[in-house]
């Protein structure tokens, strides 16, 4: 066996994998974002069925419960995840006995309890601070459930900005 050829073959077996392993992550980093551009996303199970019913970026949203109308507003706009947000509930109609509160969650995924405690700021207006977290799956649809103790609950489903 030719020792020069053997030596060259051995060197190739060492160098070629090194080149491959160096370029594999680089190629991956360059190509994958093009294959999955932001905004397109990887569809999540059940995502297609979830419809938003509140354009919270455009303004406040209202729901009716028997004898009371609930208006939800969130500031600042656009409503972004992972930011301190101010939640405001305005009620029209018969005033509740106890203070309302808001539970934040995702309609399609259990995220654990995330309650916004509200305080009365003026007649029939309640405010509280909260955070909508970012779901790494890329889903953006969140739900705020406003509970008026003794009167009922109202859901507001909206998209947030990541």
């Amino acid at each position: 066996m030719d020792p020069i050829k053997t030596d060259r073959a051995l060197r190739n077996r060492t160098v070629i994998p090194r080149i491959f392993y160096f370029f594999l992550p680089v190629l991956m980093l360059l190509l994958l974002p093009r294959m999955f551009p932001p905004g397109v996303g990887i569809p999540a199970a059940g995502a297609a069925e979830i419809m938003t019913d509140c354009s919270i970026h455009a303004g406040s949203c209202s729901r009716r419960l028997p004898g009371i109308e609930i208006t939800l507003d969130i500031a600042p706009k656009p409503v972004r995840a992972m930011r301190d947000l101010l939640f405001r509930i305005s009620l029209a109609g018969e005033a509740p006995d106890r203070t309302p509160y808001i539970d934040l969650g995702m309609p399609a995924m259990k995220m654990g309890p995330n309650r916004v405690i509200l305080k009365k700021t003026s007649r029939n207006v309640y405010e509280g601070k909260g955070v909508i977290v970012r779901c790494p799956s890329g889903r953006r649809t969140w739900q705020a459930t406003v509970t008026i103790p003794g009167r009922g609950k109202a859901d507001f489903v909206f998209d947030v900005v990541y």
Binding site: L32, D84, P113, N114
Partner: protein, 230 residues
């Protein structure tokens, strides 16, 4: 206002319930990959150490939230680290998938050059050597930083508890304790997933390992994509 004991119970039950729902779906691929790579060895020790590392990271994050009393302040500072953790997790799974079936010249190359070769060879050697149970603790520490909705939600509550703390030390300890309890609650679900994927109950595993390797590589690529886009 809830007592601290009640909060511990709430955090544990929250961890337990989201563990069987959210964690199995989102972090399940990771523990399944680890189990496949272990090929039936040291499931409980390795995964116990992985979970211990993860819980320690949660506790430190909880402690920081408890001191700061603000979720957004701390989360903004660790966002880059979390993105890096997501990408590293993806790369780790890809390398383990490749190493498991010795695809490409990877396995032989590492065995020949691993301990004395260059940085690249040593790096891959270390990554492919994660069958050692002790390697799982630092992996858990790192992957405890993975961005996760329920962990964020628990941290918001921890920051809320921190606001009411009389001093920084109490805020740190209560925050760390609450997040540690939350992490403990998620352990049963992940251990169950790890055990089921351990394949110790299968007699013919060769084909399963091959399929598992392909799945691991796909999951790894998915994690890397998520990391890049996060």
């Amino acid at each position: 206002m809830l007592s601290i004991d009640a909060l511990y119970l709430i955090f544990f039950t929250t961890g337990f319930t989201v563990g069987f729902g959210h964690c199995i779906g989102m972090c399940g691929p990771l523990v399944v990959s680890f189990s496949l790579n272990l090929k039936g060895e040291n499931i409980f020790i390795s995964h116990g150490l992985y979970n211990a590392g993860r819980i320690l990271t949660y506790a430190v994050l909880g402690g920081l939230m408890g001191i700061a009393g603000s979720f957004t302040v701390v989360s903004a500072r660790i966002a880059g680290l979390q993105q890096a953790a997501l990408i590293v997790a993806g790369m780790l799974i890809i390398v383990m998938g490749l190493a498991m079936i010795e695809w490409l010249p990877f396995g032989k190359y590492v065995k020949r050059e691993g301990k004395t070769g260059g940085i690249l060879a040593r790096g891959f050697y270390k990554l492919s050597a994660v069958r050692s149970p002790y390697a799982f603790f630092p992996i858990g520490l790192l992957l405890g930083l993975l961005p996760c909705g329920p962990v964020y939600t628990a941290l918001i509550a921890t920051a809320g508890a921190g606001i009411e703390a009389p001093n920084a030390l109490y805020g740190f300890l209560s925050g760390a304790g609450l997040m540690a309890v939350f992490g403990l609650g998620t352990v049963p679900a992940l251990l169950l997933a790890a055990k089921l994927a351990g394949l110790g109950w299968l007699t013919s595993r060769r084909l399963i390992y091959r399929i598992g390797s392909v799945l691991m590589i796909l999951v790894g690529v998915f994690y890397v994509i998520r990391g890049i886009r996060y």
